[in-house]
Every structure is written in structure tokens, then in C-alpha cells.
């Protein structure tokens, strides 16, 4: 079960070592090895939890409510596997792109400085934070994990000191500090009210209390605070204003990782909070469902309004968060199944699109309205077209399956709110299609004015092809993956397996616990 600590320890270790390594090649190698190992660990965890098992690791051997537990159920397994994949691809992409100029017309020293000043290490710490968030079974530790993740993201956002980075970085940091403040106070209050921080324990205690006392406004209060925090991190409308300006400013690899995973950590936390801790807060579920509908539309409108690659895609991210939450908060496991499938889909697709955007920026600068690149870069065109179809939910892409299952679940659930949300989802599909077609028209069609062809770095294109392959294989293997999502969703609907696995050994620890051999430690204590 110590396996569970590895997705955190491996990046931590490699992050620390990366700070000490003197050569670029060594750093690249180290980062790659760490990412590959982490991915392998993630996959083996996924394999175990797919058997329906819930893996638990009690940190420091302290039993559940007192120590900190690491827990992996199906949802965690999926998230970890995604994070492992995306992390590896990001490391690959970054190590190639940091050796070249950031985008057309800039000098490449800036990127080299970024690399030298710890980009890869920050990335590893970010991965650690993300994995920590997915694995932890403790509310306060989730706060710590968020902080590790956020502080690394500040670092990645700012590294390079370009003007937009500083400008948007300030806003990003302030917003997240506010949200973190709410989070930590909510965690403290949760301890005050429920008397424990272990999420399984909280779940059990709240369920017990609710069954005997009925609804309690104090619990709703905490639920709303947590919802506020996670919705802000997930960039749900109207709390997501910070995202579209912040995500496009760092290096492309960082943008891609942010867009693919960081907001999803917010969504993950929302799923955990509202399936495990507060499944009974129906009002908040409905509020979030309505906000989800708005997020979809607002994201799509935002996409249409932009003309720069990554700004447009940042709005696409907001829209996808809307779709996700629509599934999460639609009653019943069908919606959750759709949401989980959509989650896998959107992580891969958004990531792939960001990589394509990075290549696009390399070819023609920040805007995609410089036409006529289809003939020079047909493969890029294919990659964009395939992933844009997936984004807009056009068959036979994975996006279509995701969209279909979400809308179908929503319509099946019935009721006014659900119907309107489904309508919003349908309309958003059209708007997304329009926005992606505009990029296609703006960048690939049209008359080419390019004087010479930009040579794209090998590493960057290879990584893009890999991630495109992931997007396509998701569509091909939709059957088993959807099944997986379905099983995980059913697991999420009942908390029993989770809480039982975590709270299994409530015996007090024995005094004579086997201690470490003494001789190894002696020298160091002075």
C-alpha cells in the first residue's frame, strides 16, 4: 500500500534533485525518468482500484481519523492516470520547447533562462501537488495539497518575467490567496463542527447526524464555503474570470498542463465534497447545476470573442468545466458516468489543443487569424481538426459520446432545471463548433502569406502526435472506458466502500510498535 505514496514522493524527490543538477541534459533526463516512473505507478494504482478495491495508506502508521490517510478509489485512479499521462507529455513537450524560442520572433535565451531557473523542478512540484490533491483523504491535507499545487503554478506562471506574466500573475495569485483563505477557514470550521478532518470520518459523522437531526444550516454553510472555494478553482461562472487571462501567459507547456489538469482538480474536489461529504445538500447541487449551464455558454461566447490561440482555448476550458459539472450534479449515476467520461475526454482534448496552439504560435505568433497554413502544415491541420471535432462534440469523436451521454442523462432525469441545462448544453455545442471552425478558417484556410516555412522542433511535434493519438484512441476504445466510468460512478454513488476501507482499523496503536534500528539515525541527531 506504500505504492500510494509514490505518485507524491517521486515528483518531490525529482523536483528536489532537479534543483541540484547542474546540466540541462541531466535535468531533462531526470524529469523524464521521474515522469515515466510516476506514470507507471499511477497505472498500477489504476489497475488495482479498477477491481473495485479502495486502496488506503495511513501516513506515519497512524490510524484513520488521527493521522492522514491516502485513499485511492476508482475516481482517484482515473485522475492519477490522467495526471501521469499529461505530466509525462508536458515534461516531453517542455524539454523540447524550452530549447527553442517561445514563439515566433522572440529570442530563445528567455526560454533557456526559464529552464535554468527551475522550470522542470517547478513542474515536478506541480505534479506532486496535483497528485497529492487526488490522493489525500483528509480535508486539511487537501488544503496543503492545493497550496503545493498553487504555489508551483504561481512559479510556473511567473517564470520568465514577461510583462503579461507579471500582470496576470498578480491577479491569479490574489484570487487564489482569497480562495485559499476561505478553504482554510472552512477546514478549520469543519474540525470545529464535526470534530474530525478525515473525509471518510466526516462523511460518516455527517450522515449519522443528518439521519438523526435532519438538515442543519451549519452543514450547509460549510458545504457552501467549500463549494465556493472549489468552484473558484474550477473556474465556474461567475467565479472563473481569472482563468482566461491567466492561463495563456506562461510557457505553452505550462499552459497546457494548467488547462488540462488544474481546473480539474477543482472539479475533482467538488465531486468528492458533494458525493462523500454533502450528498444531501440538494439546493447547492441545483445552484451549481445552474452555474454549470452558465459556464458552458459563457465559455463558448468567450471563445467566439477571442482571436488568440490560447485565449480562445482558455475559454473552451471554462465551457468544458460547465459540461463536467452538468454531469456531476445531474441526479443519478448516469450523469456522473457522463461526467467522468467527459472528464477523461476533456483533459486529453484540451491538452492536445493547447499543444497545437503552441505549434500555431510558433508558426505565426499569438493570433490564429494569420491564414493559409493548411498546405504547409497538413499534419497540424489534421491534428487540429480531429481535436476540434472532439471539443465541439461532433461524431465520431470522444466528445460526441461524452456530450451525448451528458445530454441524454440530463433529459432522462427530467424536470425544468435539467431540461434547461440540457438546452444550454445543446446550444453550447453549436457555439463551440462555430468557434472551432473560426480557428480553422483563420489559421488553416485562406491565402498563405508565409515567406518561409517554420521548422517545428521534433520533440514538440512528437508530443503533439502522442497526445493526438490519445484523443483518437479514447474514441476508439470508448466502450471499455465508458464502462470504467460507469463502474466508478456507481462506486461514487455509495460511500460505503470508501469509508469502510479508510476507517477499517480504529484500534489504538500498540505502545511497543517496532521501532527503527537505532544505529542509522544516531549520527544525524546532533
Amino acid at each position: 500500500m506504500n505504492l500510494l505514496s509514490l505518485p507524491i514522493l517521486l515528483p518531490l524527490f525529482s523536483g528536489a534533485v532537479l534543483l541540484l543538477l547542474p546540466k540541462r541534459a541531466l535535468r531533462t533526463l531526470m524529469a523524464l525518468i521521474a515522469a515515466i516512473l510516476t506514470l507507471l505507478v499511477d497505472l498500477s494504482i489504476l489497475r488495482t482500484v479498477l477491481r473495485g478495491e479502495v486502496m488506503v495508506l495511513q501516513m506515519s502508521n497512524w490510524p484513520a481519523p488521527w493521522g492522514i490517510s491516502l485513499v485511492a478509489d476508482g475516481l482517484t485512479g482515473i485522475m492519477l492516470a490522467l495526471s501521469g499521462l499529461i505530466a509525462l507529455l508536458t515534461v516531453m513537450f517542455a524539454s523540447s520547447s524550452l530549447a527553442h524560442e517561445p514563439r515566433r520572433g522572440q529570442s530563445k535565451t528567455l526560454n533557456q533562462l526559464r529552464e535554468r531557473f527551475g522550470f522542470q523542478a517547478l513542474l515536478q512540484f506541480l505534479i506532486m501537488g496535483v497528485n497529492m490533491s487526488f490522493l489525500t483523504g483528509d480535508l486539511f491535507n487537501l488544503f496543503v495539497a492545493f497550496e503545493v499545487m498553487l504555489i508551483s503554478s504561481y512559479g510556473l506562471l511567473l517564470i520568465g518575467n514577461e510583462l503579461p506574466q507579471l500582470r496576470e500573475g498578480f491577479k491569479y495569485v490574489v484570487v487564489n490567496l482569497l480562495a485559499s483563505a476561505v478553504f482554510v477557514v472552512a477546514a478549520g470550521m469543519m474540525y470545529g463542527l464535526v470534530g474530525t478532518l478525515n473525509m471518510a470520518d466526516i462523511s460518516v459523522k455527517i450522515a449519522e447526524y443528518s439521519s438523526s437531526h435532519g438538515a442543519d444550516a451549519r452543514l450547509s454553510l460549510l458545504a457552501m464555503m467549500l463549494a465556493l472555494v472549489f468552484a473558484t478553482k474550477a473556474a465556474v461562472f461567475p467565479l472563473g474570470f481569472w482563468l482566461p487571462s491567466a492561463y495563456p501567459v506562461p510557457v505553452a507547456a505550462a499552459s497546457a498542463f494548467f488547462a488540462a489538469l488544474l481546473t480539474k482538480v477543482g472539479v475533482y474536489s467538488l465531486i468528492r465534497t458533494f458525493t462523500l461529504l454533502f450528498p444531501q445538500e440538494q439546493l447547492i447541487h441545483t445552484i451549481l447545476l445552474v452555474l454549470a449551464a452558465f459556464s458552458m455558454l459563457v465559455g463558448a461566447f468567450g471563445m467566439i470573442s477571442q482571436s488568440r490561440w490560447r485565449h480562445t482555448l482558455a475559454f473552451a476550458n471554462i465551457s468544458s468545466i460547465g459540461y463536467l459539472l452538468m454531469g456531476v450534479f445531474t441526479t443519478g449515476s448516469a450523469g456522473m458516468t457522463g461526467a467522468l467520461y467527459y472528464l477523461i475526454h476533456t483533459v486529453l482534448v484540451i491538452f492536445c489543443l493547447f499543444l497545437i496552439a503552441a505549434l500555431g504560435e510558433k508558426i505565426a505568433g499569438l493570433k490564429y487569424t494569420v491564414e493559409g497554413h493548411l498546405n504547409s502544415y497538413p499534419w497540424l491541420g489534421i491534428a487540429y481538426f480531429a481535436s476540434a471535432l472532439a471539443l465541439a462534440g461532433i461524431p465520431p469523436s470522444s466528445g460526441f459520446i461524452a456530450k451525448y451521454s451528458l445530454i441524454s442523462a440530463s433529459l432522462r432525469a427530467g424536470g425544468t432545471v435539467n431540461n434547461w441545462v440540457a438546452a444550454a448544453a445543446v446550444i453550447t455545442g453549436l457555439l463551440l463548433l462555430y468557434a472551432t471552425v473560426e480557428i480553422w478558417r483563420g489559421f488553416f484556410w485562406g491565402e498563405s502569406h508565409a515567406v518561409h516555412k517554420v521548422v517545428l522542433p521534433r520533440g514538440m511535434t512528437t508530443t503533439t502526435v502522442f497526445s493526438l493519438a490519445l484523443v483518437i484512441s479514447l474514441a476508439v476504445f470508448s466502450g471499455p472506458i465508458y464502462k470504467l466510468a460507469q463502474r466508478t460512478a456507481e462506486q461514487l454513488m455509495t460511500n460505503e466502500a470508501y469509508t469502510k476501507a479508510v476507517l477499517v482499523e480504529v484500534k489504538t496503536p500498540r505502545i511497543g510498535d517496532p521501532a527503527l534500528p537505532t544505529d542509522e539515525l544516531e549520527e544525524d541527531t546532533h
Partner: protein, 769 residues
């Protein structure tokens, strides 16, 4: 090969071809079209299962895609589907051959054939599938691949626009279809089209919305009024594409939908709605076709008009007549488009007013075009005549108004067919002096279609049986193939119905059609005078511009709003939360407050006021620092020595930090907020404070015992330390501390990078942001 495999292959093969095409295109150039014909052959071989289809025992096959979602790619070659698949495959083959001759050397051949084949595959899938979701999937695929085809010459703005318009409008219909299939699946309890039951569906409240969405989908795709605007601009595509899209495939998808779900639509008002929409489209399409000068545009509007006929026939339940006309239309329209392509290819123009007398220069093309155009006009002995007679007959039964519209529409149809043929007659007019007949490779693919047009009519006269004029061969075979799907009796097509009212109407049509052609100039002026300033096309662009405008306005308003107002949203949300438990949990009896606490409280309040009132940086920093000291004191009073110590040290270091950058910090400007904003901010801040306050009161009585005793009990014995807080930090919750020092490390790295990588001044920043 088993029958099932063949059925699946017939849909898959074009897609495989689409993947191969770019490679073939690289080596074979335009000639890649010929080997790719193989991709449509499996579909053509399906003809051997026609007897089974006629016996209502159709071939089925398929595979699961996402079984948990009920999504399987099922195919079912029932009569109608099989008939349509054969048409698609046959015309597809001819188009591939035509395209191979048509495309110039500098084109992107591989890409062209790739798009074309994926479109063909999508179309075959659409007609053959038996699964609701797969139906939608293939439907969208046709939209997407037609988008690529129409925009094949993507460097031209008009092509881009035409492609986008077609995509947006058909995708709008696609979304309606998505909702429709979901509702049908919910209401019918199955996702298999062939097992949907009218009775089950009818009893569901979702039935009417489902039908409504279904109709919307059909109308958009089949270019019915008022969604017909995309079809004419789709003519920006290369002509082989237009020939494929507008004869047998893309535009017929809506008709297919109405045909496949006809058993549902023949209910209540729906059939009337479809019929009248179809008739209106037919009328308006032929009216607009008359005023076109571009041969391709003329054919485009004629397609709109013909689709109206099909739609009204299927809608009103006259599947037999509809199917007969569908077969005819596919043949003559594809032939006509190919001829237009030839004219364009050879003369360099498609402008009717600049062309004439081509009969002499392009004799073969003329021979091909003549029967096709006459069939479209409804001249006897040709297939078009037969189906138009049927159309008249059915409309005659429907009532006077449908009859009237049908006849007027047909008169104009007759007129524009003559107008089309005008380019072959009269004195030679052509800008290209060296005009000559197209090569064999170009006209040969068009010839079989023209032959079919003739065969549908004339060849079927059986001289032995005298004047029966029963047209009982190919067309009938096709039409009757679809019979089991609609439940009509296999019938006959008659060239001769005897002298009756229908024939009279036909004669009237011819006469008035010729008249209209002769007096076309005044009519044209009349049309010009009636042209409104706006139409649905301008509306479409207005809507797009409106969408862009709204998006940008909205995004500007929300994203571009001040940062402070963004923050306001978050804190306001937090403030509102407090309202939910406001004042409910006031403690009942208050314990006395020791003096020390009063003093700390005084200090904190003073500091807060000091910070809020501070006019310069130093005093603000000092007051904030004092607030920190005050909270340290509070920690001491509340028995938290570790906290107090830490807070004090942090305070010290922070002050050092502030002071070391002090000189470079901006002065404490008081940017004056508008008074209303100050008020709002004040209220929001009060709200936040209120939330914290009430929440703190509310959580003072826990709902379950807190877990603290464990730490106190085992801190010494197992943790090995007397300071429980420290033991928690390094042992019980040492993992938190691990995260905490990671945070600190990252801060060090980030600050190092921030301070060591030189800052570019705003002035020297390159302008690309």
C-alpha cells in the same frame, strides 16, 4: 465473405479509402480517383440482397461501440436503405471517375478524394444504420465532411463562407436531431429504429417535442424554407462535389429522415406541416431558379425546389410517388451538374448570359444534357414525366391549394429547364475561342446517368402490349425495392394514364412554361422589382455578426471588468453564504472576558482603524504589523505558545522583507473609489465579516466529539514528545509539514527566478500582446 461482413464493409470501405487517398494522391495525382472506385463497390454488391429486402427479411449486421450507452453501429439493409445505398454508391463511383478527370494538376488530389470518400461513407452509414445514435453520428459526419468539401478551395473567402454556412445550418439541425433521437430513445425505450413502435411513442409526453426536433433537423438538412440559404452557397465547392452533394446525397438526408420516420410523422398536423413546407420550398426554389444567371446557381435552386417536392410527397405519406421521383431526381440532377462542370471546364464561364450555341461545339455534352433537362422539366417519355404525373395526382387528392402550388411551381420549373438548355441553342457565344468538346474521361461518367434518365421512361415501353406504356423496368425496380419499408404495394409506373385531368394539367404546365420562357424578360424585371432588401441570408449574417458582437460585448463586460469587481464577486458570494445561518446560533450564556482580552481587542481595533485610515506606506505597514503582534498576544492568551512564537518571528521577518523593498515600493496612493463603490465594498466587507462571525458562533458546539484526546494520550508514549503541537506537526500530521516545506521550497525557487531573470520594462515590451 459473409453477408454481414459485406454490409459492414460497404460502409467502412469508403472511410478506409479516405485514409489511403492522400498516399494515392501523392503518387497517382488525379488518377487516384480510379482505383478508389473500389471503395464503393462493396455497397454496390449489396444489390444481391435486394430479394431478401423485398421479402421484408433484410440483411442486418453491426458491431458494438459503447455498449454501456446503447451505442452500437448497426446496419440494416431494408428496402429503402438498400435502394438508397445503391444510388449513393453508383453515383459515387461516377463522381470519382468524373473528379479524376476534372481536377487540375495543381490541386490537392489526395485531400479531395479523401474528403469525398469520407462523405460517401458517412452517407452510406446514414442510410443503412438502424441505431438512433449512430444515425445522428453519421448525420453529423456528413455535415463535417461536406464542410471540408465545400471549402476545398479554402483560400477563397466565398468558399470558406459557403462551407461555414452549410456547416452551421446543418449543425443546427444536427443538434435538433440529437435531442430528437434522445427523446425518441427515452420515449420508445429502444435505440433501434426498426423496433420503435408508434403506439409506445404516442403515449409518451415526449412524442410531440421529439417529432418537432426531428422535423427541424430534416428541414435544415434538406434545405427547406427558410433554411434553404446554405444550399446555393454550397455551390462554391468544386463541381464534382456539387454533383454528388446535391443530387443523391447530402441534401437528401433530411428526406431520408422523413422517409425513415414516416410512420411517426404521418400523424395529426405533422404531415400537413411537412407537405406545405415542402410545397412552399418547391414554389420558392423554382421562382428563384428562374432569376439565376449562373448555371450552377440555377441548378442549386432547382435542387431546393425538387427537394420541396420530395419532402411534400413523403410528408403527406405518398411514399411510392416520392421514391419514384427521388430515383429520377438523383439521375438527372447528377447528370446536369456534370454537364455544367464540363461547360465551365471548357468555356471558362457559367454565366448564362454569356453563353450560347454550345450545341455545335459540345455535341456530346448536349446529348447528355438534353434528356436530363427535359426529364427535370417533366417532358413525356422520360422518367421525370412519370414521377411528376404521380406528384400531380397526389396533390390533386390533397386539395386545391396544394394542386395550385404544385402546378405553378412546375410551370416555373419548365421555364428554367428551357433556360438551362438555352446555352446550347442560338448563335455561338463563348469567351474562349478554342472551345472544344471535353475529353472522353470527363463526359463518360455523365453518360450513364443520362441513359438512365431515358431508360426510366422510354425504354420501358413494351411494344408487344401496345399502348400500355407501363414503365416497368429500372425505375420500378428501384421504387418497388423500397416498398416493404413503407408498406405500400409494389406498383407500376405508367407513362400513359389516359386522357384525364392530370394530363390536362401537364399540358397546361408545358404551355405556360414555354410562355414564361418566351416572356422571361418582363418576368425577370418583375422579379427584380420584388426583391426585398433583406432575406434569410442577410438575416443569417446579421445573426452571425450579432453573435460575434454579443460574445465580444459580453466577454468584454465580464472579463474586461475591473479586477476589483471580479474579486467582489468572490467575496460577495462568501458574504451571501453567511446570510443562511445569520444569528441563529448565538450562545446562550456568555462567559466573562478577562481584562487582557479587552486590551488585545482594543489593540486590534485600533490597528484596523489605523490601517484603514493610513495615508502613507510606513504607517500602513506598521499598523498591519501591530495587528500581527496583537494576534500573537491573543495566541499567548489562548494557550498557544508555539503559534505565538511562530507568529512573532514571521512578523519580524515579514517586516524585514517589507523594509528591504521599502524604497522601491510605490507610495500609498489613495485611488479614490466612487462613493457608491466605497459603500458597496463596505457592505460586502461587512457581509464577509458577518459570515465569519456567524459561522464562528455556529460551529462552537460540535455535532460530534472532536478527536483531540488521542493526540494528548499518545503524544508522549508513541510520538516521543511532550509538545503535542510539535508532535502533531512532525509525526501525527508530518505529511502536512512535508507539503508545507515543499511550499516554502517552491517559493524560494520562484522568488529566485523572479528576481534573477531581468524584467523587461513595459516600454521595450514587444508589441505582440
Amino acid at each position: 465473405m459473409t453477408a454481414e461482413a459485406l454490409l459492414i464493409l460497404s460502409v467502412i470501405a469508403p472511410f478506409l479509402g479516405a485514409i489511403l487517398a492522400p498516399y494515392l494522391g501523392r503518387s497517382l495525382k488525379a488518377r487516384a480517383g480510379y482505383p478508389l472506385i473500389l471503395c464503393f463497390l462493396p455497397a454496390l454488391f449489396l444489390v444481391q440482397y435486394a430479394p431478401a429486402a423485398r421479402a421484408n427479411a433484410p440483411l442486418t449486421a453491426g458491431f458494438d461501440w459503447v455498449p454501456a450507452l446503447g451505442l452500437s453501429v448497426d446496419f440494416r439493409a431494408d428496402g429503402f436503405s438498400l435502394m438508397f445505398a445503391l444510388i449513393v454508391a453508383a453515383i459515387g463511383i461516377l463522381i470519382l471517375a468524373y473528379g479524376a478527370a476534372y481536377l487540375g494538376k495543381s490541386e490537392r488530389h489526395g485531400r479531395f478524394f479523401s474528403y469525398l470518400l469520407s462523405f460517401g461513407g458517412a452517407m452510406l452509414g446514414l442510410v443503412l444504420t438502424d441505431n438512433l445514435i449512430a444515425l445522428f453520428a453519421f448525420w453529423e459526419l456528413t455535415s463535417i465532411s461536406s464542410f471540408l468539401l465545400i471549402g476545398f478551395w479554402g483560400s477563397r473567402k466565398a468558399s470558406q463562407d459557403g462551407a461555414e454556412k452549410a456547416l452551421m445550418i446543418t449543425a443546427l439541425g444536427g443538434l435538433a436531431l440529437l435531442v430528437a433521437v434522445i427523446l425518441l430513445a427515452i420515449a420508445g425505450g429502444t435505440q433501434q429504429i426498426s423496433t420503435l413502435e408508434f403506439a409506445t411513442l404516442r403515449s409518451s409526453p415526449l412524442f410531440i417535442p421529439a417529432l418537432g426536433f426531428l422535423l427541424l433537423a430534416a428541414f435544415t438538412k434538406s434545405a427547406q424554407l427558410p433554411f434553404h440559404l446554405w444550399l446555393p452557397t454550397a455551390m462554391e465547392a468544386p463541381t464534382p462535389v456539387s454533383a454528388f452533394l446535391h443530387s443523391a446525397t447530402m441534401v437528401k438526408a433530411g428526406v431520408i429522415l422523413v422517409a425513415k420516420f414516416g410512420f411517426l410523422l404521418d400523424w395529426g398536423l405533422f404531415s400537413q406541416i411537412i407537405m406545405y413546407v415542402g410545397l412552399a420550398t418547391m414554389f420558392w426554389g423554382s421562382y428563384l431558379a428562374l432569376r439565376q444567371n449562373d448555371l450552377k446557381a440555377l441548378l442549386a435552386y432547382s435542387t431546393v425546389s425538387q427537394l420541396g417536392i420530395l419532402m411534400s410527397l413523403y410528408g403527406s405519406g405518398h411514399a411510392f410517388a416520392a421514391t419514384a421521383h427521388l430515383v429520377n431526381h438523383a439521375a438527372f440532377k447528377a447528370a446536369l451538374f456534370m454537364v455544367v462542370g464540363i461547360i465551365d471546364h471548357e468555356t471558362g464561364s457559367r454565366d448564362i448570359s454569356r453563353l450560347g450555341g454550345l450545341r455545335r461545339k459540345l455535341p456530346i455534352s448536349f446529348i447528355i444534357a438534353l434528356p436530363a433537362a427535359l426529364s427535370m422539366a417533366g417532358v413525356p417519355l422520360l422518367g421525370g414525366f412519370i414521377s411528376k404525373e404521380l406528384f400531380y395526382e397526389e396533390m390533386f387528392h390533397e386539395g386545391f391549394l396544394p394542386m395550385l402550388i404544385a402546378v405553378t411551381g412546375s410551370i416555373m420549373t419548365f421555364a428554367y429547364c428551357l433556360r438551362f438548355l438555352k446555352v446550347f441553342f442560338g448563335p455561338l457565344r463563348c469567351e474562349n475561342p478554342n472551345v472544344h468538346e471535353a475529353s472522353l474521361r470527363l463526359w463518360l461518367p455523365a453518360a450513364p446517368l443520362s441513359l438512365a434518365v431515358i431508360a426510366f421512361g422510354i425504354l420501358s415501353i413494351n411494344p408487344l402490349k401496345g399502348l400500355v406504356f407501363k414503365s416497368d423496368t429500372l425505375a420500378v425496380w428501384f421504387t418497388n425495392l423500397a416498398a416493404p419499408s413503407f408498406g405500400y404495394e409494389p406498383g407500376h409506373l405508367y407513362l400513359w394514364h389516359g386522357f384525364n385531368l392530370i394530363l390536362g394539367l401537364s399540358a397546361l404546365t408545358w404551355a405556360l412554361g414555354i410562355g414564361l420562357h418566351l416572356f422571361r424578360d418582363p418576368f425577370h424585371r418583375f422579379q427584380q422589382a420584388l426583391t426585398p432588401a433583406w432575406n434569410n441570408n442577410t438575416l443569417y449574417y446579421k445573426a452571425l455578426a450579432g453573435l460575434e458582437h454579443f460574445s465580444s460585448w459580453f466577454t468584454h463586460k465580464t472579463q474586461g471588468a475591473s479586477f476589483a469587481s471580479h474579486l467582489r464577486v468572490i467575496v460577495l458570494a462568501f458574504a451571501l453564504i453567511g446570510a443562511s445561518v445569520l444569528w441563529r446560533y448565538l450562545p446562550e450564556n456568555l462567559s466573562p472576558v478577562p481584562l487582557a482580552f479587552w486590551l488585545v481587542a482594543l489593540l486590534i481595533i485600533t490597528d484596523i482603524v489605523g490601517v484603514l485610515m493610513a495615508q502613507n506606506r510606513l504607517s500602513a505597514i506598521i499598523f498591519a504589523g501591530l495587528a500581527g503582534v496583537a494576534s500573537t498576544l491573543l495566541f499567548v492568551l489562548l494557550s498557544a505558545p508555539d503559534l505565538a512564537l511562530t507568529q512573532l518571528l514571521i512578523e519580524t521577518v515579514t517586516i524585514i522583507l517589507f523594509l528591504s523593498v521599502f524604497r522601491f515600493l510605490p507610495r500609498l496612493h489613495t485611488y479614490v473609489r466612487p462613493r457608491s463603490l466605497t459603500l458597496i465594498d463596505g457592505l460586502i466587507s461587512l457581509g464577509v465579516a458577518g459570515t465569519i462571525f456567524t459561522a464562528l458562533l455556529a460551529v462552537q458546539t460540535p455535532i460530534a466529539d472532536r478527536i483531540k484526546d488521542f493526540y494528548l494520550d499518545y503524544s508522549k508514549s508513541i510520538g516521543g514528545g511532550y509538545n503535542v503541537v510539535n508532535v502533531i506537526l512532525v509525526d501525527f500530521r508530518g505529511y502536512d509539514t512535508m507539503g508545507e516545506i515543499t511550499v516554502l521550497s517552491v517559493v524560494a525557487v520562484s522568488v529566485f527566478a523572479l528576481l534573477r531573470i531581468a524584467v523587461k520594462r513595459a516600454k521595450s515590451e514587444s508589441n505582440d500582446d
